[in-house]
Symmetry: C2
Amino acid sequence: MPKRVDHRERRALIADALMRVAAEQGLEAVSLRHVAAAAGVSAGMVQHYFRTRDEMMTFALAVVRERNEARVTRAVAALGATPAPRTLLRTMLAELLPLDEERRADGRVALAFLAYTAVRPAVAAALHDETAALLGFVAGLIRAGAGERVDPERAAVGLLAVMEGLGIYLLGGHYPPATALAALDTQLDLLFGPGA
Amino acid sequence: MPKRVDHRERRALIADALMRVAAEQGLEAVSLRHVAAAAGVSAGMVQHYFRTRDEMMTFALAVVRERNEARVTRAVAALGATPAPRTLLRTMLAELLPLDEERRADGRVALAFLAYTAVRPAVAAALHDETAALLGFVAGLIRAGAGERVDPERAAVGLLAVMEGLGIYLLGGHYPPATALAALDTQLDLLFGPGA
DNA sequence: GCGTTTACATTGCAACTGCAATGCAAAGGG
DNA sequence: CCCTTTGCATTGCAGTTGCAATGTAAACGC
């Protein structure tokens, strides 16, 4: 094998540049040449690693999701062993909100992707599964923590919707971060009872 | 004044075509020529009414918002005079969810716009004001109906977030309409007490 | 009837797009 | 030492984009 380079590293580098472009100028500005320029490489090299634009997009979406997963995993690990369900939930969901500039950038990309996949249902399947898994997990936590107060499944749908909606509002600059967090805590109060 | 035509009507016709294109192929497919073709007119005419693409987009966003307002107004009017706060809220919010194909189409456009405005903060200002107004109204209803149970402002933020988030999930096909409505009702149960 | 204004059509163009094709350099294996 | 494979650059091309410019037709004021 000649000319050994780390294929995955290169792809990550390019995806990184893609993210910067998408976050700054929107997904529609993401082109082979733009991304190449942002990455400081030739357009041909981008094409070498992603043969089509769609391939690039799909990979970038996977990157965003992996980042989120890593963020959540790290934050949850910092809680120590066996945290209370409510604490665990609050940590996870707060970590998924675009509260700082880094997560805002990721959030913009994710939002653009949402609009992108709304027209290409095939691509949306991956998101679909992820939501279902997350939903099950959240429902389990609610069942463990809130007992008979609510239907865990329905409450989980609502809670995830709160998170998603707050994310949208944060990205749009409709609320400051503190307001979103307060709303999240209020929601958890409603589910688990106040002051837990 | 020669050649009198209803300017607003023409613009609405074009905006209509824009909506169709955007809903079917995404906002990035919205071009002067595409919209013109969809409207069955010449590209020049589109250009006559909207000098730039951005102008077209901004107008289309206004159309979506007007449609939503009209839908809500009509649904609320059908409730008769002085409905209970919870009933009023449920009617309003359910009307804003993309539950049928017509509203799904509008929702896709709105979602694309969200991503669009996330990069052009100037355009987002209008949305900003609308959210603030809606928020105040919802908070008032919660205060009237739920009394001391919750902080109306925070609860209103959460409730609107639920609506927005459910909308996203519905557009992505993550949930069927019934699940979204159930989640909405669960949320209202949490705020107003069950069975009201 | 003339001129001005509005409505719309057509054409043109520079910029940009995704993508294929081609070319070359380097690094192994034989 | 060649030769195949891989990494990357360059070029070319057909298609599309937004937008300006130019043209024509119609309707009104005078």
